[in-house]
Symmetry: C2
Amino acid sequence: MLSAGGPALADLLERTELRLAAVAEGHGEKLGRHAGGTLAAGGKRLRPVLVFLCAAEPAEHLVAAGAAVELLHMATLVHDDVLDAAELRRGRPTVFAEGGRSAATATGDLLFSRAFAELAATGSEAAVEALSTASSALARGELMQRADAWSEDVTPDRYLERCRLKTASLFEASCRLGALFGGRPELAEPLGHFGERLGVAFQMLDDVLDVSGPAERTGKPRGADLLDGTVTLPLILARRHDPSLSGPVRCAEEAAAVSDRIAATGALEEARAQALAHVSEAKRALDGLELPDQRTHALHLVADGVVERYA
Amino acid sequence: MLSAGGPALADLLERTELRLAAVAEGHGEKLGRHAGGTLAAGGKRLRPVLVFLCAAEPAEHLVAAGAAVELLHMATLVHDDVLDAAELRRGRPTVFAEGGRSAATATGDLLFSRAFAELAATGSEAAVEALSTASSALARGELMQRADAWSEDVTPDRYLERCRLKTASLFEASCRLGALFGGRPELAEPLGHFGERLGVAFQMLDDVLDVSGPAERTGKPRGADLLDGTVTLPLILARRHDPSLSGPVRCAEEAAAVSDRIAATGALEEARAQALAHVSEAKRALDGLELPDQRTHALHLVADGVVERYA
């Protein structure tokens, strides 16, 4: 995926890592350690990659934008881990596990404020507005997820709206920022649409993986969403075929058994097909934008990578 | 206090209220209700007042700056209430009490991001840097307070550093922003120093009041800091006179009794005297700045108001 974008992408990503490492410093030993650990834990840096691939040229502020979207993403993960009292993420102890509730809340707050500081330093009001809109959507999506916990009335449309808020909004902002800073502000809208559809697909496939496993791949036991009451599309669809799929799931064994029953209804294939349709719509959003072929190809590869991760 | 600043101050404060109300809208019903409730709960708007009084002239971006410092302040309060599982603040149910942990965390995140968005919209990198520095300090101060909970080794210097981080940093940023946007950027340093000293005094006096009461004035039972293990200057000083003042305080009755014992050592007068010295230093920072007399007078009134609140 990286090579498709050429050396510029690798260079931008490397500079983003340096920027993220620098951000973690200068905030006191304790806070810096937690923030640094969170940022170093890595992940795919998918959001910065979207920023860079949506830019027409390597421009001054792209690294700031890449760092900003990753910082915001990390901030929400740290706060989610506090709310879930999660011990592990990506195979490492969470800030919550290492430092406790207050350290993790403060670390998330720090990452939030640094995300906006990074972007504000570019002097672009439109960019900060894009990040702020995403930040508001992330918070609303998180609330919606918790409000809908254990509910049997979540419709597919409501589920899609939640995916849009809690995941796709930051994908969209990443693409918009790339367009804004990368010399193609007139493409902010269609590239934002690409990111938004891709983000919805990403979340849907993540939710399929939670049911399908294998656990070695996801780093968490199968049916984790079932255990914490998060109602996802596979469950919503499966209930149509098997109305007895209701009531709370209380332990890991039950979660695995319910996961098997969801899979038996064919709901995973249905959900995966819906996700793939969103990926196709994302790709179609690139048609007619007159991007260089290599760039369109790279964005297609990112979209396919989202799918392959779950194949 | 308000009248001393003339009609401009009242006007700026009114516009800040409107801005804060607007910020609470447009983020979904639930999040907007929590954010709006938090912002409407009011308080003294002391930080926006500092912004406005440190400005030499009513300038375009002052309201944005005033809203930003208040939003950041509110964000930290909302997250503090989550960490403390606090049910009441200023006589109203907290977001935590009304919406639960996740709603309150999301509301705080929203207020954080809107604080930076407000300021970023001004296009001033120096302003965003000032707010970001304060935000980082607030997080570090919060961590330090929790790390030092129940400790018998907190020195007066460490206590002062905590006051500087968790309270004075945002007072300082408010004054700096007023200078930056109000046409006197060359005064950002000395006015920032004024705010910083005033903020330290504010926190010290707040901590005296926690021990002295009366509860009707503070809205919380006497010795609340003792109950949650926050080691403040009155306790540190009192222990020098009465080394038996050690060990955890477990219930409201014990907190009231220990408060009486702290008061009996004379530690409250000592702490109050130290706070007043910081207020004097704050006022001295204004000497020679060639502010209009009326403006210096207004800033002195704010400083005296901080003291009087606790007289």
